[in-house]
Amino acid sequence: MGRLRSLLIPGVDKRLLVRDAGKLMPDLTRRHFVAGGASLGALALLTGCDVSDSFSAEEMLKKVSKFNDGVQAAIFNPHALAPTFPESAITKPFPFNAYYELDDAPEINGKEWKFEVRGLVDNKKAWTLEELYKLPQVKQITRHICVEGWSAIGSWTGTPLRDFLKLIGADTRAKYCWFQCADTDGYNSPLDMETALHPQTQMTFKFADEVLPRAYGFPMKIRVPTKLGFKNPKYVISMEVTNDYKGGYWEDQGYNSFSGS
């Protein structure tokens, strides 16, 4: 707020000015900024510290979150497998979860859909669903943990991503596999290469032994049992192997980018 205050001109309605400034921010940022400001005010009252300068508080928190990305990458053990469960442990019904209603979920025609591959790979050919279905598949029953805190155990079958990366001649020294999805608003998410190469990271085509239903990401989901749910993209349409950090739908709004479990 300090920066805003110093810009105020005498005689100008401060409230209107702040509202106009707010309009310049993207919708979500504005909502978060305003709501965050209110709670910061409550904290200032409680602790007597001035943390109402939410611009600098936000900057500090972003820096710590980046530091936490590094800490998590350092403690990530590429050989540690997520615990697996028996069929009887599967959560029924497995929850549908997105920032929209199921009716608004992408409806993809499996015959027309193609998986595009870009970036640091030898073979940039696009893959049809039929071609992908021919690759060797494995099944895993693992726990899906949502950033919100709830968890559910599901059964996913598909091709280990590391096998596919090898098949297309991806440069696995690159930093990220960046996925893009068919969701409204263009969902995307970066996956660090070490996690992409983890044996349980999977291009998923089936849920509970059935073709992946629309609710869980038909035709393809990337299942990553070592990451929180929002880093398990659904309705995937393309992958770019890249050294650049290209951000992600939730990552850009403040969820920790590594979010490993």
Binding site: G36, M60, V64, A82, E148, T226, G254, G260
Partner: protein, 208 residues
């Protein structure tokens, strides 16, 4: 003669110090860290409540889940590093052994009775009564458990043996919540009593 007088004085001064500087520093850093952790934790809880209630937005920190997570995972460093310093110095200086031990059930019952009848003495703040000993030792244990259960929720794959020790991911969330509730209950009593005996609050600020 003069040197004797000086040493007498310093002995008196030392005897008067109720809370040494390191205790006061870690206490107030812990107070800030705990408040940040609890308020952001309530906001995180609201995203997927374990029970049939949510915390009012007026008492939560972060504005939304993403903001609360940023606060929680920043303040955790403050809480953990400060907590480790406290544990290390508590053992190394012998403070835990001399202040918190021994705790006898009979002593706790007798002091609890005395407290309820308003007969508990606060003349010597350097010595804790049995109820204080039990609560302060207990809250240290709760502090350790809340950090460990928090780590097991944060890293249920990398620290899966720790998570399993708590009975799995979902149970660890309840453990984490119950520890928070215990700390909040402790805080209410702790603050109320500090206000009832203002010289104890003064000792935690200026040492004597």
């Amino acid at each position: 003669m003069s040197s004797l007088a000086v040493s007498d004085k310093s002995i008196n001064a030392a005897a008067k110090v109720i809370q040494p500087a390191w205790v006061r520093i870690v206490h107030w850093i812990n107070a800030v860290a705990m408040i940040l952790m609890i308020m952001s934790g309530w906001q995180i809880y609201n995203a997927s409540p374990l029970f049939d209630f949510r915390f009012s937005a007026n008492i939560t920190l972060g504005g939304w889940l993403g903001g609360a997570l940023l606060w929680h995972f920043a303040a955790m460093w403050l809480l953990m590093v400060n907590g480790l310093v406290y544990l290390a110095l508590g053992f190394a200086t012998g403070r835990f052994a001399s202040k918190l031990l021994p705790i006898s059930p009979a002593g706790v019952i007798a002091d609890a009775k005395a407290a309820l009848m308003g007969k508990l003495s606060h003349d010597d703040l350097t010595r804790y009564n049995y109820v204080q000993k039990l609560l302060y030792a207990g809250i240290i244990v709760v502090g350790v458990v809340i950090v460990l259960s928090g780590l097991s929720i944060w890293k249920p794959v990398q620290l899966q043996y720790l998570t399993a020790l708590f009975g799995g991911y979902d149970v660890a969330r309840y453990v984490h919540f119950i520890c928070m509730a215990s700390i909040v209950a402790f805080l209410v009593i702790h603050v109320a009593l500090a206000l009832l005996v203002p010289k104890s609050l003064r000792a935690m600020i200026i040492g004597r």
